[in-house]
Symmetry: D2
Subunit: 406 residues, 4 copies
């Protein structure tokens, strides 16, 4: 790969990406464009602008954007239509944010005439894969620079030295190692590394970033009603809201009630296991609610097919294949199933748990006439069951007859 | 179907199966053998013996058995190896008990020379299917009698009349309709019908049979450690126990802490939706724990394959195909994966929720050497990631190039 | 079910459906509407009109339609996009025609104010299921009458007697039993029953209805080029044709060259096995050609996902669930994959076999630059393979390390 | 990676692996052990011994083995139980041989105290992946040397120069480029590269290595009967034979009758498409025969599950994951299904095509009593079909009712 001339950097404004910024400048002598996105990570973005300027980035090369609505509308919501869980438990909070960032990096590269993008993910993790697969899928000619795989700043000491040497400001609490590493966006906060590296050791309480410990949550349950249209949450307690507003509101509720803490050892795409503490307050509520509305609006054929496709869909997102034709194929199938997934679910939030307690919909397929223990006025003829069972049993009988033959 | 000469009846000792008993005698003039099983439903069995005798069953025709160990060892445990959840949420507590009952009914029929079996499931539900498919799969020539699909006792009034007419004792509280219908075994209790028939109405608290309301559960969390061998729980807090003892103990813990309540609208195999309240205290803990031990002992290849097979496996059990070759095929695959799923999980139980907080195993695949944020002494070469990503990206680049060609 | 007042009958004009027509009139005293479709079965339709009139059907109640284009465009083509094969071998020629017939029966019922439809499929086969599931999916209130499950005309003798009694004309060769039963449409001809009932006996040559025996096919191979657009065949040897014209032309070619004979024992949805001889000349060529164009226009992600969905898709069609939400979900995924499946395939036809020998497309993903044994000008960096393999191997190494630990 | 001290080389005796042998010696100064396997590729092995000796390999370091029986028994046969086809068409002839070679390389390394193995696969293909994943799965500490990814002998000229410089004998016809590259074993011969690189160009006839052109095959069909036990072919025309003997015999038959030619563009695991001509004469017959015996001995539950697992199973083998837990899980499921796949199939071989024409088995599930068009003596009650259809239709009716509600 020839040296890049102009690089769009995914820039948080923090120490690490500031070091990368400077390293790109010194290593390649290239122009750097910074892209800082508000994905709901809960940090001010303007300091990133100031810091980029301080590091010599031209104002027109500083991109700061609030992408929260796009994030929820085009990434989080489609994913939740699938009830996606990676390895049965993980709501994919980090995974789903990466393709959006790459998409904007590539778009900005094209707008600014940059020939490369750069990210701050290490060589051991999934995020490098997600950033790069998305970028290549959107622009096959883009160069991707992953400094952590390239440089020799392989210890905290060396990083700090580099920063000092290049007049990069270092916040006091950043000189030492953080006790663990954090990633956050509107959907979730993940914590991993260092004090969390031994999966036999319980995570200390101070790891939690945004969810109240269940023990400290309110003593009274709280009810919430979520309304869906075509598989997406569109209102809370009857009030219509934008996608990001809904997720923000659910995060508040979940965080308050201790909902959405997951301590997981998962399989990374690059081959090793890692342990993370995930906080997904709103997402945990949303999954339960979406399951709740599907209970009455999806038939078994759609629902069971969805369930069987889900693990693969989740794996694709986890592995970084959001912008792949197979994810789009699965999405087409899933979206097809959601055309009438509309209605309202009531949930009970209490000290770490969320449960559907009621659901109703104009699109409901639930037929009290059929299921009732009372007289059903001919809706269902119980004698039909005999033929149904007999024909389902026919091959089993033939198998049993063979077995008895020996 | 010619009239049966001798029928083995799944007999609970309750009013409904007593009516069936008498109806079989009067309708067919046939000899009746009763089979009453202790599946952990929490009822005394000896009254069933007395009642059967009262209804004229010969002592040698009364079978009363404690099948709890067999139930957990040969049915519940294999199913939990799969992390089976029907429609993403239901732990299959009723479904998994039916094949065992049918197996014993068929075996007793063969021992006693009976040509038929009978059950008390209605023509609207799944249980008739499960009983009958299992029976036919085990004995292709057995007759199955399902009185609820045959007789004209279609209202409570008619049933009571029949009982009175035939001197069947009626407990006081059985004269009227129960407000809902209950099924129980060691794995779960289900409640459905009548006051629960409207899924938009919250279930009243009095529906709960064995789980404390989370609000009434202890204010202090409790930790429990479950040890697995080859996928099955074998010890609690270091103490080895039999399969049924473990599940009993976990039921106590879960019940105490409000864990395992599910309010579900599900799709029955016979085509309609139904709503049930399921209480699965021990099973809910067990699923979480099994997931926890798999986190460190299963690799991604095994785990992801298991996850993709699970929905079909769960559907087979739900639909009554336990004794089918395809369930056995899936079981062979699942059991193969469990050979090293051994180790211990620590879980936190608190007011309705259960969470894995630590897990350890001599069979662990977790490699701190590989995943560490610290210096890894060459365990992992970060530059490998570049080639890994590039080849994974190759087809995406070719796709993107084509798209750009137009 | 109350007696029908007006019935739309799927009417071939043959003896069996004429008997049904008369039986409906006599059994229910109802008005009968006949629907006779040209699905490419190769029979004149006008005799059906004359015969219907003779049996007392009012002219306005006689529907005769050429649905060949709709059949191929809306049913056959979508199915071939999936490369659908039931049980690995069967091209679903009968299965795919049934939903179209039911669709028109239901539509005509609604146009004519009929409350029921009727078909001539027996109670042992798949077609009854396909007709009825499709009808109920399109009109939940329609009545379906299946005379073969209802009447007592259970032998050839009784049928002939009924026909004679009701002045139904009987062709000479219809008095006795046919040596086997035939169904045909533009996609295929199936033969089953009687002389074919023993799967250990070879089918006699006279069973073949439309395909030349390979031994009698031309001694010289013939080449044909099929052009696809978005997954559908649109031209043969460069000449654009309508969907039905293409299939007709391919049938001629395949029939001439002995292509598309299948002797199969399959599993019916109703539980037993049956043996059939299927002749699918054009379809067999089309499947090979479609696979051929997909080879260069689908990437592995799309292709492998399609392959994994196909068995379920084929099973749905076989079982009669064309008009089901899960078939539509799968179709959405499949159609998504076909957006660039355009280009041309050259095939060689010779004495029973068809083989792709060349294929080309403006949408090709084949990159000679990448794959070449020659110098590739940097298109592919072979050292990338090392990292790719190492990270794919990482979990296998961890597994092996564990195994060596014992 | 530190330099290897002793390397086991997969050695064919040909020019390329002789160059590798010498290169290993000169590059690393290491001891080389050669392993030459008879996998049925149809070449004498003793010349490889002479050549190895000539190149300075100690006699005790020369391993020459006939592994044909192991190849068919432990690799080919298990794979054919699955009816494995990669991308719907490819019988995996190359893929399935690689893990066996790696297994022996690793075993010999352990026997001889070697710390590394080496292979002659290039950096663009699948074989490098297959060799290396298998090796790492069997010995996590083994070093794997892939000279084609390491050296600078990147052109034919340089290779020849290196050979001349090191006194490696060069057969006359090896000085120039071969017009295409060939790999062969008992299961298949593949040809690819150079004259075959344009998938729009037909392959010239001279590419065929072991199959007669269909046009040149005998004018008379030939029948063959293959007997299976538990899914594996065990006899031909009633004569019991060893696994490799059976495949050899079927290769003769298939080769003679022009059966098993495939011209394919496939997706390599490393990301690009490649085109190959595959000749799999015996394997093509075997697949058809295995399907034929499964038709009567597998029930639909087993068969459909197998079909749905097959694409993943085939992909695993293609990608090199033979020695992976997920392949073993799938194998456990598949093998479970084969317990009664025993019986005999008669096939007709004629000018490029093979067709099942009859099959019989003591394990047959085919029930003429159930399927017959004649009177069935009560084996099947046609009225059962009504209930079967109605309950299968119930959810479709509820969906249709909802749709009509709007």
């Amino acid at each position: 790969m020839s040296a890049p001339k102009k690089v769009v950097l995914a820039y948080s404004g923090g120490l690490d990406t500031s070091i990368i910024l400077k390293w790109l400048q010194t290593e390649y002598g290239c122009e750097v464009v910074t892209f800082t996105a508000d994905l709901g990570q809960g940090e001010e973005l303007e300091p990133a602008r100031a810091k980029a300027e301080l590091l010599g980035i031209k104002p027109e090369n500083i991109y700061i954007e609030d992408v929260r609505e796009e994030f929820v509308r085009d990434f989080v919501n489609p994913m939740f239509r699938a009830n996606a869980l990676y390895e049965g438990q993980y709501l994919l909070g980090t995974s789903i944010a990466r393709p959006l960032i790459s998409k904007r990096l590539v778009e900005i590269a094209e707008e600014t005439g940059a020939d490369a993008i750069a990210h701050g993910a290490t060589g051991k993790g999934n995020d490098q894969v997600r950033f790069e697969l998305a970028a290549y899928a959107l622009n096959p000619d883009i160069k991707v620079i992953a400094p952590w795989r390239l440089w020799d700043l392989t210890s905290r000491t060396k990083l700090i030295e580099f920063a000092e040497q290049h007049q990069i400001p270092i916040a006091k609490n950043k000189r030492g190692e953080a006790p663990f590493s954090v990633d956050a966006n509107l959907l979730h906060t993940s914590s991993e590394g260092r004090v969390l590296e031994d999966p036999a050791e319980e995570a200390p309480d101070y790891v939690l970033q945004r969810i109240t410990r269940p023990e400290d949550a309110p003593d009274a349950p709280e009810m919430v009603e979520i309304t869906f249209e075509k598989g997406d949450a569109v209102a809370i307690d009857g009030e219509a809201m934008s996608p990001a507003t809904i997720l923000t509101k659910l995060n508040e509720l979940g965080g308050k009630h201790g909902i959405g803490i997951l301590d997981l050892v998962e399989n990374r795409f690059v081959g090793m296991k890692s342990r993370g503490i995930y906080e997904t307050p709103g997402g945990t509520i949303l999954l339960e609610a979406h399951r709740g509305i599907e209970q009455i609006t999806l038939d078994s054929g759609s629902g069971h097919l969805k369930d069987s496709l889900m693990p693969r869909y989740a794996e694709l997102i986890y592995n970084g294949f959001w912008f792949s034709p197979e994810r789009e194929m699965l999405q087409a199938a899933i979206d097809k199933s959601q055309e009438r997934v509309s209605g309202t679910v009531r949930l009970k939030l209490y000290k770490g748990s969320v449960r559907t307690v009621a659901r109703w919909s104009e699109q409901s397929l639930y037929s009290e006439a059929h299921v009732t223990f009372e007289e059903d006025a001919g809706a269902y003829d119980q004698t039909d069951a005999q033929g149904f069972i007999r024909l389902n049993a026919l091959r089993l009988k033939l198998l049993a007859t063979r077995k008895r033959r020996g």
